[in-house]
Amino acid sequence: MAISSTLQGDVQIVTVTCDRIDAAIAIQFKEQMRAETEGGPPRVILDLAKVDFIDSSGLGAIVAAMKQLEPGRRMDLANLSPMVEKVFRLTRMDTVFHLFPSLEDAVAAQAG
């Protein structure tokens, strides 16, 4: 598995456990995200701390994972490495997702 998840109150924290989300794993990643998040709480935080590389296929898989959430649910991202953040910035996907510098920041944002 490329991901694992825990529930923290009304938030599902999905941790990516592989160090790359690229074309070789994009389809499995999307399907694992579907299985892991289906029927979960309204907010999902994807923790990317372990990820040091994504390509456009990996980005597409993250976008797909967000789009396949049921209506009314949202996905935020935390702990992007400089390389991963750059991919979001260059594709302007940083305007679509909320990017948080840490998991704590992401979790705290909900209370505010």
């Binding site: 790359r20 690229d22 074309a23 070789a24 590389f53 390509d55 456009s56 296929s57 980005l59 597409g60 898989a61 976008v63 797909a64 967000m66 789009k67 400089p82 390389m83 750059k86 991919v87 260059l90 594709t91 302007r92 996907m93 305007t95 679509v96």
Partner: protein, 152 residues
């Protein structure tokens, strides 16, 4: 066919592999690991890794689509202030030459958000220059990356 890395003069990477997603991943990682001994900054290595991954993924997904998978060869060598990365394959040619790399619109409803189409924009943004040629049944894409520090 397993990835076959030949030690080239000066340790410059030269690797040939079968055009599959798994071998493409391994080859790109191998090339970047080989470049880690150079004086390139981590952000520059990241740029090379991403652009190279996009080029190779395009060949796997489109160049060899609908035909038996073939080989891809990656070579890297310094050229003055630049690193020249060349990718060769025997897949179909790029119709109409190099795509302009116009990125898909992301200011759209969530259900319409693009899940692809960013590859050429990333390649064009990350490489300092690009050239493509078709020689016989072979495609060759050359990318140059500045070895000097540059703002990102």
């Amino acid at each position: 066919m397993t990835p076959c890395a030949k030690p080239a003069t000066g340790g410059a990477p030269d690797i040939s592999f079968l055009a599959t997603p798994d071998q493409a991943r391994r080859a790109v990682m191998h090339v970047v690991a080989s470049l880690a001994d150079t004086e390139m900054a981590p952000s520059q290595l990241g740029d090379v890794e991403l652009a190279l991954a996009e080029v190779v993924n395009n060949i796997v997904e489109h160049g060899y689509a609908g035909r038996p998978s073939g080989a891809i060869r990656i070579t890297c060598e310094p050229h003055g202030d630049y690193l020249l990365v060349s990718v060769r394959d025997q897949g179909r040619c790029i119709p109409g030459g190099l795509p302009t790399g116009c990125p898909p619109d992301v200011e759209v409803p969530v259900k319409d958000l693009p899940e692809g189409g960013f590859g050429w924009m990333l390649i064009r943004t990350l490489a300092n220059s690009l050239s493509y040629s078709r020689e016989g049944d072979q495609n060759r894409l050359d990318m140059q990356f500045s070895l000097r520090d540059r703002p990102n």
